[in-house]
Subunit: 233 residues, 2 copies
DNA sequence: TCCGCGCTGTCACCTGCCTGTCACACGACC
DNA sequence: GGTCGTGTGACAGGCAGGTGACAGCGCGGA
């Protein structure tokens, strides 16, 4: 289906990823080191790079920056593999331009889902999967991880951004708190469901005029409204 | 909620899993041996199998392969329980078609989350439960949790929504109050049966023009009428 | 090295709505 | 007409969700 480069020094994990991605029908090339990773990416022009943040030689952030600054690799999406509490915000944000991240330890299932999601988005053939989203007063540039409300840019954390995108992708479908925990935080997250509430609150605060797009369905969960007009109420 | 088969020879762990899964509302059947596990799976057709990798007779991988190759068990998801360091076996686990795995020692909480996630993801595949329902003047979007009557959206509480869906799914069949208590309120309904009446009343109030779809069968219970026309009276 | 800052998870408090229960009214069936 | 079953309105308690505050953590700057 897609060509993927895995840059990961831990051999077991590299094998696990390679095997399962191939099993899912992708072509995989793996590298142990950052430098080798960069070389492979330039040579192979993959659709996706899975990039460990901690590498023996060059740091993953450096690799990411290099890739993203290389015009010939513009088509390549970068997914960072990070340990909990690592600098996710800078990595995924505007600064480095990674397209998504997964927090270790992750389940293979989760990673595959994320890779699928990225591939789906970057396939321009498919309609409705634009990287540039316009929804009422809300505007989102997924690649740059930037968000505007009524033309005014707002700053979201990596987590808030992912929460917003997860809700948006399932527009007009209720998401239970535990479904959101899975898809936003990852399965291993040892978190109270009330944490979701808090982050929804923070997200709404920042969304200002677009805050009503995120609707509460009492006793069930949250829902991104189906069309901008419905939300005015 | 779901039916689960646990295949685990270590008695303590088996008990622990059984207890916690039942506590979470699932039905659990446990086996000590691989062969017994296969038999149980074929017999019970569970939603999920928790499968230890190290079993006294047949290995877990073998059990997994057998299950996954049996067409009648296609609907069953397999979660492998593996000991730490069996990296190779992780791979093998996925090779065999296991849907997920957990590394021992794992927290019960984590396992429950995984089981939930698997159930959630495999559920929508269920046929026959249309997501968009149109029935006379009544329209229901199950995924969005929204209801319209004659084009006008009405607001139902989570409970009322469940009640309506339960009645609708058993269209044209009388539901006793206690059956409704089971299905809408959950098994341990510690409630007066008259509570059902109250909620039917509230539901009818909100249903406006569709209120006659919910019929009273005196001395028995309630019934959702078979076709929209019957209800005009 | 220390301090401050931003992000995040948790908690406690509060409010409003949902919900279970009751008592009474009403209607059907005998 | 009597009785049983159901409809209905009122009410109190509880719970779900919004919200503000706080602590831990990692990072960056001094």
């Amino acid at each position: 289906m897609a060509k993927i480069v895995v840059v990961e020094d831990e051999k077991d994990l590299q094998d696990l990823l390679t095997y399962n991605l191939e099993q899912a029908g992708h072509t995989v090339v793996a590298a142990d080191r950052g430098a080798e990773g960069v070389r492979l990416v330039r040579e192979q022009r993959p659709d996706v790079v899975l990039l460990d943040l901690m590498l023996p030689d060059i740091s993953g952030t450096e690799v990411c920056r290099t890739i993203k600054n290389d015009p010939s690799c513009r088509r390549t999406a970068v997914v960072m593999l990070t340990a909990r509490g690592e600098e996710v915000d800078r990595v995924v944000g505007f600064e480095l331009g990674a397209d998504d991240y997964v927090v270790k330890p992750f389940s293979v299932r989760e990673l595959l889902l994320r890779v699928q999601a990225i591939l789906r988005r970057s396939h321009p053939a498919e309609p409705g999967s634009d990287e540039l989203i316009e929804f009422g007063v809300l505007k989102v540039d997924r690649q740059a991880h930037r968000v505007w409300v009524s033309g005014e840019e707002i700053e979201l954390t990596a987590l808030e951004f992912r929460l917003l995108m997860t809700l948006y992708e399932r527009k007009n479908r209720v998401q239970t708190r535990s479904a959101l925990l899975d898809d936003v935080w990852g399965i291993q997250a040892d978190i109270t469901t009330r944490t979701v509430d808090t982050h929804v609150k923070r997200l709404r605060e920042k969304l200002l005029g677009a805050r009503n797009y995120v609707e509460t369905v009492r006793g069930v969960g949250y829902r991104f409204c189906g069309s901008p007009d419905e939300a005015v109420a």
